[in-house]
């Protein structure tokens, strides 16, 4: 149990692993962790190698960087290359490949592309550069979308006319539904996303047990949180229960954050369709600015090509995002596709399953084989 020593409370981790092992018995369970932050924790701490063979973790689509399709990156680059534009983005998005390169390459060609930590930093740049057009490349699930919404409310209040948002915000429930409807995957339960749930709460997941008969446990981001969520899923199954439970009670409330949801609804509305990398078009799965905020909508202020671009043939991000294959089973994993020169989005973000596995998983796997019998 070498890895356990790195945990905050090794004794608690050992106890949880023992309890999980007992609950699993000789059966096999397949659980999906929806959130990329969880994927990162799982690989970073070698959790897969602590678990008994009867528990398989499948990595889900909850990495907002990973699910942006190539066509949207092309649109972002087209906007960034408009004269006078300062194009602002979270660092993660810089290396996501479009059909003819990424934002970093656009920057090298002379486009003014800048990292920001917060949409409020982008708004500040707009105020400080009144002669320029500042565009914020908004990505993220319900965790991040309220922050963009608050920023837009402030932009309107302060009449900042040279600030727009290119919205690529997505919502968490539709992809979970798409995965449950997918015939290639048989899951026994879900580890529900942590920080998305601080906003949306627990209610939106009720359809998972009620319609699809699968348990869901919302979890925090530490190794112990993940282990405890797995234990809670197994307990439900063994006790014949099936419901939504909350392991991350220190941050997530049943009702979520009503104020954040209110602000979201004031600023955004659902798009009829949005394309997800690897998952295709999912209806009502993404957010656009309401018409009251049209003056802040980059898609209306600028001409975006809006062309759909198919994923590269060699790239199997779609299958990774749906949990159909493991990162290392992709044909180009670690060879043509690495974090330095990613082909697919899953290799770009540190929360992407491929990058997480590339950076940590391989190492842990080797060490685990070395420790083998002690597991």
């Amino acid at each position: 149990m070498r890895f356990v020593d790195e945990y905050r409370d090794p004794a608690a981790a050992r106890a949880l692993v023992a309890q999980i092992t007992e609950l699993v018995g000789d059966d096999h369970f397949k659980f999906m962790e929806v959130c990329g932050g969880h994927t990162h924790t799982i690989y970073r701490h070698g959790i897969e190698h602590l678990l008994p063979g009867g528990v398989e973790l499948v990595h889900g689509p909850g990495c907002p960087v990973c699910v942006i399709p190539m066509g949207r990156i092309d649109d972002a680059i087209a906007v960034a290359e408009e004269p006078g534009v300062i194009f602002t983005t979270f660092g993660d998005m810089m290396r996501v490949p479009g059909s003819t390169g990424n934002l970093l390459a656009a920057k090298a060609r002379g486009a003014d592309v800048r990292f920001v930590y917060s949409p409020l930093d982008a708004l500040r740049m707009a105020v400080e550069n009144p002669a320029r057009e500042v565009v914020f490349f908004a990505v993220g699930f319900e965790t991040t979308a309220p922050s963009t919404a608050v920023t837009l409310l402030r932009a309107r209040q302060e009449a900042v006319r040279n600030f727009t948002v290119f919205s690529n915000h997505v919502t968490i429930v539709p992809p979970i539904k798409a995965i449950l409807e997918s015939p290639d995957l048989r899951l026994d339960g879900f580890i529900g996303p942590g920080h998305v749930s601080t906003v949306v709460g627990q209610r939106p997941y009720r359809f998972v047990p009620e319609v699809y008969g699968k348990p869901l446990v919302t979890a925090g981001f530490e190794p112990l949180d993940i282990l405890q969520a797995i234990e809670m899923l197994l307990l439900q199954i063994r006790q014949g229960r099936c419901c939504v439970e909350n392991q991350y009670t220190r941050c997530v409330r049943e009702e979520g954050n009503p104020r954040a949801l209110e602000i979201l609804a004031e600023v955004f509305e659902l798009r009829p369709h949005f394309e997800w990398r690897g998952l295709g078009f999912i209806s009502q799965s993404a957010l656009k600015l309401r018409s009251e905020f049209a003056e802040f909508d980059a898609e209306l202020r600028f001409t975006v090509p809006g062309v759909r671009v198919a994923d590269p043939k060699a790239c199997q991000c779609g299958e990774v995002l749906k949990g159909v294959i493991k990162p290392w089973e992709c044909k180009v994993f670690g060879t043509a596709c690495t974090p330095e020169t990613p082909i697919g989005t899953c290799m770009v973000s540190s929360e992407g399953a491929c990058a997480a596995y590339y950076n940590f998983g391989r190492l842990h796997r080797e060490v685990a084989i070395g420790v083998g019998s002690k597991r």
């Binding site: 608050v150 954050n257 973000s349 929360e351």
Partner: protein
């Protein structure tokens, strides 16, 4: 990018724009607390911060433990702190 980082509210700097100064890993920066306006935020509160916004209140013990957990994440933690340091929300 969905990591949250704990910070302690040092002072409310602009109640109209809902800005508070927080201490994150020894660095002081402004964040927006508008998403927590129903609960109210005062100096001494600990909050979980995501892209410059307070997402939820947490207690001090939890904040300390969360920080230890984040530090175990290595690069992802360092990237998050560097991003906070570069932020100049005003």
């Amino acid at each position: 990018m969905c990591l949250g980082i704990p910070g302690e509210v040092v002072e409310i700097v602009d109640p109209v724009r809902q800005l508070a100064k927080v201490d994150v890993a020894g660095v002081r920066r402004n964040i927006n607390y508008g998403l927590l306006e129903d609960e109210g935020v005062v100096a001494g509160d600990w909050v979980l911060i995501h892209v410059g916004f307070a997402m939820s209140k947490i207690d001090e013990v939890e904040a300390e433990l969360a920080m230890q957990g984040l530090k175990m994440m290595g690069q992802a933690y360092e990237d998050e702190v560097r991003a906070v340091v570069d932020s100049q929300i005003g």
